[in-house]
Amino acid sequence: MARGGPNGGPQYDPMKVSATGGNGQSGKFAAKKTAKAAQLRPSGGGEYRATQDLTNQIREGGNVKTTASAANPASNVPASPSPMDLAGMLPAISPLDSEPTEYLPISDGVDFGRGRGSEALPPRFNKDTRQIENVELIKRYLPDMMNAARMQNAPDSFKRMVNALMKQVM
């Protein structure tokens, strides 16, 4: 059965295909391309013999000098940003980074001791979850703390604290 060839070409008949292959192009491919290059002659308008020189150059397989560099300078290509621009684009991680911390007390940012209170912290740290954590801790360890408060030499302050913590969870 005949089969269709590529691009509407002649149909192949599988009964006529040689099992040993064909003879190949025998160098005709390069000759055809050279003839094609000879046909691609640039149009005139240049200097005397300029067209002939270009034709010879194409025939010899050389590259034709492009005129794109003169007509289209590289100004359209966006310039890569300098390192200084990148440094300016980076925001500070938090407002506290811009402040020197050498002279701040260790309790800066908490509500007890020296230094500023929790109002100095960034807004994302202002959400107070201490009460929830406190209650969870107290619930978990209150039995042990009650036993410790019943020890013989337990101080009054510890007993008062255990009483106060019990009131928080009850």
């Binding site: 703390m145 030499n153 101080p155 302050s157 019990m166």
Partner: protein
């Protein structure tokens, strides 16, 4: 009870305040080498004297809840 977890908890809880119990609890878990180092740390972060029980105010009676 000296230099034990509950001793640390007593000092940190009373010095930092009951509302900071979570912080006091975590700091009480630090294996302090001796009570002096711990008390110096408390005085450093609070700027005040250490609050809490001392051996002088220990009472032998059990606490009535």
């Amino acid at each position: 009870m000296e230099n034990t977890f509950f001793d640390h908890l007593d000092k940190f809880g009373n010095s930092l305040g009951y509302e900071n119990f979570g912080i006091a609890f975590m700091l009480s878990m630090v294996p302090w080498e001796n009570p002096v180092d711990r008390d110096n740390f408390i005085m450093e972060i609070t700027g005040q004297d250490v609050k809490g029980g001392t051996p002088s105010n220990y009472i032998p009676e059990y606490l009535e809840f």
